[in-house]
């Protein structure tokens, strides 16, 4: 099962809010006694991107897709890509910048869950889901 990007009754599952932290390259910083800073770069790929997606007031059936996916990938254990439909990634809905900038795949990262999806029931049949993902090499 891929990460949910399609509603159960059709149409793209686009988040209503998104935050993205672009992570960092693996850098170790040392401070010398004279105060000078020394940095050692241990890799050439940026990692540890953090992507938080909020799907406000979606159908419970759609909210369930995230819970099922979390189970399929064994919680925070397995990694997965964020899929696209015809070259369009619904998780990036509304973003008009470069596709690579807001993602992890360009740096050879995949995502995994940083924690379990949070589901808040807001009305009968409607829930708000927040998923927090982290990019890992």
């Amino acid at each position: 099962m891929t990460f949910p990007i399609t509603k159960t009754n059709g149409g793209d599952l686009v988040p209503s809010a998104r935050t993205f932290e672009s992570g960092d390259f693996p850098v170790k910083t040392y401070k010398a006694q004279n105060g000078a800073e020394h940095r050692i770069l241990y890799g050439d790929k940026r990692t540890n991107m953090k992507l938080s997606l909020t799907y406000a007031n979606i159908l419970d059936a759609d909210a369930e897709l995230f819970l099922d996916h979390y189970d399929d990938v064994q919680g925070t254990f397995q990694t997965f890509p964020l899929p696209s439909i015809n070259g369009v990634n619904p998780t990036r809905g509304g973003w008009q910048g470069n596709k690579d900038a807001l993602g992890a795949q360009a740096q050879d990262n995949d995502y995994r869950y940083e924690g379990p999806p949070q589901v808040t029931q807001v009305a009968s049949g409607l829930s708000t889901v927040t998923v927090n993902l982290i990019g890992v090499l």
């Binding site: 686009v14 988040p15 007031n57």
Partner: protein
């Protein structure tokens, strides 16, 4: 084309047990308002607001004159007393609450805490046009001032959706 004025407005109380409607005699005005709660389902790729309805709330108010059919005798059946007594109550030890009184607003049928009213526009037909609902009084206010008739302002909240609507 027919228009209606306040002269065609009526307010009824319904006894749940006997299902007999009792017209409240001295109603000066009534109003009812229904509002729908929406939640936004707009996503990042959309420009205009999109909503889903998730709830509805119906409230109303009325103003009823306080009077006595015979001076010195409380008219409890169809004056403001009918509504006042549903909320303003003396201490009742039978209610089991120290220095308290029952919050039950339906004195005739203990299976309901609410009571039933009918807001009606009399259009000359049998039932007229009406909204039947089971309500809680949320506020009563009895005011008295020089040069004015004593009246009670009542605010109520509908329990669930109206029972019957033909308006």
């Amino acid at each position: 084309m027919a228009y209606f004025t306040g002269a065609t407005g009526k307010l009824f109380l319904n006894n749940t047990t006997t299902n007999i409607e009792r017209e409240i005699a001295a109603v000066q005005n009534w109003s009812v308002s229904s509002s729908v709660s929406l939640v936004s389902t707009k996503t990042l790729s959309q420009t205009d607001d999109v909503f889903t309805a998730v709830g509805r709330s119906t409230t109303g108010s009325c103003r009823i004159l306080y009077y006595q059919e015979n001076l010195g005798e409380k008219s409890s059946n169809n004056s403001a007393s009918t509504f006042l007594n549903k909320v303003l109550k003396s201490r009742d030890s039978a209610a089991g609450i120290p220095s308290g009184a029952s919050l039950d607003q339906n004195d005739t049928d203990s299976s309901f805490n609410t009571f039933r009213i009918r807001l009606k526009i009399d259009d000359g037909t049998g039932n007229g046009k009406f909204i039947d609902m089971r309500v809680f009084i949320t506020n009563v206010s009895l005011s008295m001032s020089v040069g004015d008739v004593v009246a009670a302002d009542i605010q109520f909240q509908c329990q669930g959706s109206p029972i019957a609507v033909d308006i």
